[in-house]
Symmetry: C2
Subunit: 228 residues, 2 copies
């Protein structure tokens, strides 16, 4: 990251991305986000969210794409993206006036991390508060809260799953993000009653009884009338 000098009287806009995925470690799933180790001042050595400084004549989405490319993430793996908000505290960047327009991006699995990047746990953020640069801890927790809320009244979980999946896998997504266990029978009833998913071809075969595969009916965000 090249040193950034923000001349007084001017104003820079950063675009920062909370890239979220679920890490399936053995028998449990854990929400993780992509962190980049900062090489330069300020906050050298600390973790930060991938971000770029916006260029003139650049779209917000293009800037997000640049940030993702720089973090080593293939664009086509991103299944959902939405704006979180804009953070503009004057002191958030010690170098000068840099506002941050932040985005949430979801992808099915944490791809291999490049040098100086790592997937860190996103959910119990007590530890990060001190270890994330700028106000990125605040942005991260905004992202997790947004995702939690949207699980209840949208199909946003499609962003964290591949093309097809079992209902148990879907439930694991909900449980991991919400941080609590759900009743298997009630969960299946509700998901099916709301027509969130449709049966897909084939079965997931594993060590035990094969499980029916499903896919989301829509792979763009759809809001539900009713709450889940």
């Amino acid at each position: 990251m090249s040193p950034l000098a923000v001349p007084d009287g001017s104003l820079a806009v950063a675009v920062d991305v909370v890239l979220l995925a679920l890490q399936l470690t053995g028998d449990t799933a854990e929400p993780v986000f992509l962190a980049q180790r900062r090489r330069n001042q300020p906050f050298a050595g600390m973790w930060s969210l991938p971000g770029v400084i916006m260029r003139d004549r650049e779209d917000l989405e293009s800037a997000v794409h640049r940030a993702l490319a720089r973090s080593g993430t293939a664009l086509e793996r991103i299944r959902h993206m939405e704006q979180l908000g804009t953070f503009g505290a004057p002191q958030r960047d010690p170098r000068g006036r840099v506002m941050s327009v932040s985005y949430l991006a979801l992808l099915p699995q944490p791809a291999k991390a490049e040098a100086d990047t790592e997937w860190l746990p996103a959910t119990p953020p007590p530890a990060h508060a001190t270890t994330l640069a700028f106000d990125h801890a605040e942005i991260l927790s905004t992202a997790v809260e947004r995702l939690r809320g949207k699980l209840s009244y949208s199909n946003v979980a499609f962003g964290l799953l591949g093309e097809s999946f079992t209902l148990s896998e879907l439930q694991a997504v909900y449980e991991a993000v919400l941080g609590r266990e759900l009743d298997k029978r009630n969960f299946r009833k509700k998901v099916l009653a709301r027509d969130l998913v449709a049966e897909s071809d084939g079965m997931r075969r594993g060590a035990h009884r094969p499980a029916r595969l499903y896919r989301f009916r829509h792979t763009e965000l759809v809001l539900l009338d009713d709450i889940l």
Copy 2:
């Protein structure tokens, strides 16, 4: 509004505000927003949202306050404010690169409009689409949708009402924003069951039977577990 020249290679950030209130015209309530007539190019003569260009070292909230002051709105009348989002299409301002961080602000009544400002209907927006400058029609409809959603799962209606009010007035707020009628008995049951409001002292006396006054239990945004 002074002419704005955005030098190439630089980037300006505007803060635009959707100031919403309910206009009580006789027997019906109608959501209205504050519009400013543009005196300068571009879009001279068209209606626009109140907004300012951010200064260096200025907080986002301070910029919103400046925009409100310029529009002739007393700050202390604002009962709720929240960020809507950031609009960054490169061509949204023909003068150059100007992103807009937009805010929603609620107040109990549309105060008298100053010169070159007017309260216009906010809800059936077909007409504005052509008459609002920049992408302000899009920002306005984002604001209305946000408010509609939040009525259902928060106490955000406090922003559109004064200190005390009758349940019929509260219901009128919901009906005006949602654009449909609600059942009086069920509405009262739900509002009271959720402890949104508490009884206040006194009665509203009018042409007919006096009505009990209520006040919101909280005058900052509170999210409800359950949906209204």
